[in-house]
């Protein structure tokens, strides 16, 4: 199961281990072995580049993860749009 703050989810058993997602991940947050793939959770920033890159649609982005974000973040967003 993904961590509460994580919105990225690699669907188990669907991956082809091709490495396209690893190539675009700016945070070095994906570990890829011969037939094993895992998110290095504390590095992932939910940027979604891996989701877009995956040719097979193996990586999902869960918007509902937003509900579990640290409270400061929605507050910061509120602040950011103030004039």
């Amino acid at each position: 199961m993904p961590q509460p703050h994580l919105m990225i989810h690699i669907v188990p058993g669907k991956c082809d281990y091709c490495g396209c997602c690893v190539g675009v991940c700016p945070e070095d947050a994906i570990e890829l072995m011969e037939s094993k793939i895992a998110l290095i959770e504390d590095r992932c920033t939910n940027c979604r580049k891996c989701v877009w890159a995956c040719p097979w649609e193996v990586i999902e982005f869960h918007r509902d993860g937003v509900d579990h974000l640290p409270k400061q973040i929605p507050q910061m967003i509120n602040e950011a749009v103030k004039f």
Binding site: G23, M33, E34, P55
Partner: protein, 389 residues
């Protein structure tokens, strides 16, 4: 100071890694090559097309790794019209699982040691210095010491990042790919087919590369920027359902090709990057077998020179020689890629029409590109813009 187990460790046994290892050993170094997969050369994530000229500089063409010999391209425009230019010097569709194996054997014949099922999970450091790699060999942790590390770990490369080089490929430059090997179809074994247009692969292309008369690699690549809207696998399924319904699917793979300029840094301390790991792919064609082998050869040679001289700083020479040989061209090809990426269906149709008006002997890829420019003044501007930028 502890002893080193090897002069050079090569991470990854693809074409770039095997070639780097081979030339490093020829240069006099003691070399170990590590491959995470069970087999060298498998699984195959590749359209497998190469030019004769490119491959013959490294290995004598051998029927055991050639699935088809080809002499022509067919460029198919969105409206279905096509033009068939000659492929200067001819080319091959490989059997890469045999080809990669042969390249590893060539390295082994020069004294390179090879271990498969050996996953490199980090660099090994001592007093802040890189002194080798940390590996899982058949699930056991093993540290191996070397003076130099050559990262040939492909599109999924992480070794460069661990050494402090930013090798992340921008999503605009990464081609997200899907391919099937289909059998029981009818193909011309002499021709490489390329389909263009928004329906098959916006900004990219779809290929049908023959492996004999009744089998072909059918695949496509598109920029991740485009794949955001619709994935490679969706485009591929639609094309195959239309064109080759109900045939045998022998393989089905995903893949990525870094169609960028060479990575800004390919040498850091005692680590160098070769092949896809260094983004040494021709950004227009997406071909990375031969260019990766050229990068591997230069990298292996320079690394061996550094060992013989006892001078790690000599590795910087690799960056210079690579850019002199191919890197400068890839910079220009990258700009051409960006111009082509903006073509719409109408532009492709027009290019095909004007190419068909060329006399047959002028229908080379270069001839077509020149005539396209001639007939499309706006394209000259586009290309000029990217060249000047």
């Amino acid at each position: 100071m502890k002893k080193f187990d090897y002069d050079i460790i090569v991470v990854g046994a693809g074409p770039a890694g095997s070639t780097a290892a081979r030339y490093a050993a020829i240069g006099g170094a003691k070399v170990l090559m590590l491959e995470k997969d069970r087999d060298v050369g498998y699984p195959v994530r590749c359209g497998e097309a190469v030019s004769h000229e490119g491959v013959a500089q490294f290995i004598k063409p051998d029927p055991k790794w050639i699935a088809s010999s080809v002499s022509k391209f067919r460029l198919i425009a969105p409206n279905g019209s096509s033009v068939v230019p000659k492929l200067d010097g001819g080319g091959y569709v490989l059997e890469r699982r045999v080809f990669d194996y042969e390249l590893a054997k060539l390295a082994a014949s020069e004294g390179v040691e090879v271990i498969t099922k050996a996953y490199v999970y980090d660099l090994l450091r001592e007093d802040g210095k890189i002194v080798g790699v940390q590996t899982l060999i058949k699930d056991k942790k093993v540290d191996i010491r070397s003076k130099i590390v050559i990262a040939a770990d492909g599109v999924e490369s992480r070794v460069g990042k661990w050494a402090g080089m930013d090798t992340t490929c921008h999503i605009r430059d990464m081609e997200s790919c899907a391919q099937m090997t289909l059998s029981g179809i009818e193909v011309d074994p002499d021709v490489l087919d390329f389909y263009f247009g928004d329906e098959v692969s916006p900004g990219g292309y779809l290929w049908v590369f023959p492996k004999g008369k009744d089998t072909a690699n059918v695949g496509l690549g598109l920029s991740v920027e485009e794949a955001k809207k619709k994935s490679a696998i969706k485009f591929l399924h639609e094309f195959v359902d239309r064109k080759f319904p109900k045939v045998a699917m022998l393989t089905h793979i995903a893949g990525g090709v870094p169609c960028a300029k060479t990575n800004p840094e390919i040498v850091k301390e005692n680590v160098i990057l070769v092949g896809d790991a260094a983004h040494q792919v021709n950004p227009v064609s997406g071909g990375g077998i031969i260019s990766g082998m050229i990068g591997g050869m230069i990298g292996g040679q320079v690394a061996a020179e550094a060992i013989v001289r006892g001078e790690v700083l000599h590795l910087r020479e690799y960056d210079k020689r690579w850019h002199k040989r191919l890197g400068w061209r890839h910079d220009i090809f990258y700009n051409i890629r960006n111009a082509i990426g903006n073509f719409d269906d109408e532009t492709y149709n027009n290019i095909c029409d004007s190419a068909l008006k060329l006399p047959e002997d002028k229908r080379t890829l270069g001839g077509i590109f020149r005539s396209a420019l001639w007939n499309q003044p706006s394209m000259i501007l586009d290309v000029a813009k990217v060249f000047l930028s």
